[in-house]
């Protein structure tokens, strides 16, 4: 049995908090993904998991935000049913909706970078509504670009079909989610780090 016999190298206090918060946000994203409703016009399900992605960028910033999302994707890939509609396994990441999932970490990084403008984190309640909404719209567009690319590569959609099936039909639901996330971010009840 291999045992580390070096002296114990403790994780710094701030990093412990970052790891714990990133992991809990990933677990929250997984839980929110189970609150989904099927949408007859599109092959991909509409869920609240993107809420977790928005929050990861807004609360944890451009570094730990994507780390939290990567944790979420990893847990799904090793077989826990945490993706929308109880999806699980590496197959989901390479399936037709995999493009959406794989673009989440990039969206979280983009949202974090726009909201915090750098690596020192700001209190989300002090960020103006247009900045929050703009960051999330940019993140959403990134997710839909990735999702449409995934549909085209995996399921052989044409560009126009992929944009309609993978993006346009979701816009109303996305607008509602962004409005709700802005309200959550400005509520003053999120921790500032």
């Amino acid at each position: 049995m291999s045992t580390d016999t070096d002296s114990v190298e403790l994780v710094g206090d701030r990093t412990v908090e970052d790891i714990a918060t990133a992991a809990l946000l990933a677990a929250l994203t997984a839980a929110l993904a189970q609150l989904s409703f099927p949408y007859p016009l599109s092959p991909a399900p509409v869920t609240m998991q993107v809420f977790g992605v928005f929050l990861a960028g807004i609360v944890l910033g451009p570094l730990w935000g994507p780390a939290s999302v990567v944790l979420y994707l990893t847990v799904g890939a090793i077989g826990l049913p945490v993706f929308a509609n109880g999806g699980a396994g590496p197959g989901t990441l390479v399936g037709p909706t995999g493009g959406f999932l794989l673009s989440y970490p990039f969206a979280a990084a983009l949202i974090g970078a726009v909201v915090h403008r750098g690596s020192s984190l700001r209190d989300p309640a002090t960020v103006s509504k247009p900045v929050l909404a703009g960051a999330m719209v940019a993140g959403t567009l990134l997710i839909y670009a990735g999702g449409a690319a995934g549909l085209m590569i995996v399921a052989g959609y044409s560009l126009s079909d992929a944009v309609i099936a993978g993006a346009v039909v979701f816009f109303p639901a996305e607008a509602v989610k962004i409005a709700a996330t802005v309200a959550v971010a400005r509520s003053g009840r999120l921790p500032s780090r």
């Binding site: 190298e9 994780v11 412990v16 714990a20 007859p40 990893t74 077989g79 509520s187 999120l190």
Partner: protein, 234 residues
């Protein structure tokens, strides 16, 4: 619900790295072979995998009842057309095949979850990804797996409390805000307590991981996984 249970089944004896490789290979093969023969082969193989983990099919189906219902709904939605002839049976059959291919993958992932302790999954990940990123990934994955059911229960309670106060009649964005804000507050509350508990227990970059033994049969399973993955390219 399917969770890890100690046991001495064949599946318990494999190295988690080999089992992860098999998950990947199986999913790749199951997702690409959507002919009736391909689906039947995937189903038989998945049932065999369940048998090696001594897991009953009924229990797995019960555990996955919600995803299964949603998968079953997909062909119904695919069949409904917004104009004449209103019902498109070909689209329904196509959608049913695409939905069904997920079922064997779910069965195999249940066998993994049943036969692999979280500690071993974490150790496997940490050995596959080098350095501090691997350690953050290993620790983070263990925490997410532990807290996922807890947070699902949190959200369920928040929803029930909202419905009891007639919150179910509010507009969609209000309902989303209430559930998300409640869920977020509880999650951060738990993260604070977890961070304190981790520090109190000397959370370290170099913990002692459980020993993993990669044996000959693990090598064989890896080869089988590679063959399955390659079959998806043919």
């Amino acid at each position: 619900m399917v969770t890890y249970e100690p046991g001495s089944s064949l599946a318990h004896g494999f190295d988690p790295r080999a089992k992860l490789a098999f998950q990947g290979g199986f999913a790749a093969a199951a997702f690409t072979h959507v002919s009736v023969r391909g689906l039947a082969a995937a189903t038989l193989l998945a049932l065999a995998v369940l048998a090696t983990a001594r897991l009953s099919l009924r229990r797995v189906l019960a555990a996955f009842r919600f995803p299964l219902v949603l998968l079953a709904l997909a062909p119904v939605f695919a069949a409904i057309q917004v104009g004449p002839p209103w019902i498109d049976l070909d689209a329904a059959v196509e959608s049913a095949r695409l939905s069904y291919r997920v079922v064997p993958v779910l069965l195999v992932s249940a066998a993994y979850v049943r036969s692999t302790p979280v500690r071993e999954s974490r150790a496997a990940l940490q050995r596959l990804v080098p350095g501090k990123p691997g350690r953050v990934l290993g620790a983070g994955v263990a925490i997410v797996i532990r807290f996922f059911p807890v947070l699902v229960a949190d959200l369920r309670r928040i929803r029930a409390a909202m419905t009891a106060r007639l919150g179910g009649e509010r507009p969609l964005s209000d309902r989303m805000r209430i559930v998300a804000l409640g869920g977020v507050e509880r999650a951060f509350d738990r993260a604070d307590r977890l961070a304190l508990a981790l520090r109190a227990r000397c959370f370290a970059w170099n913990p002692t991981l459980p020993a993993l033994a990669f044996r000959r049969r693990d090598g064989a399973l890896c080869l089988a996984s590679a063959a399955l993955a390659l079959s998806s390219l043919i």
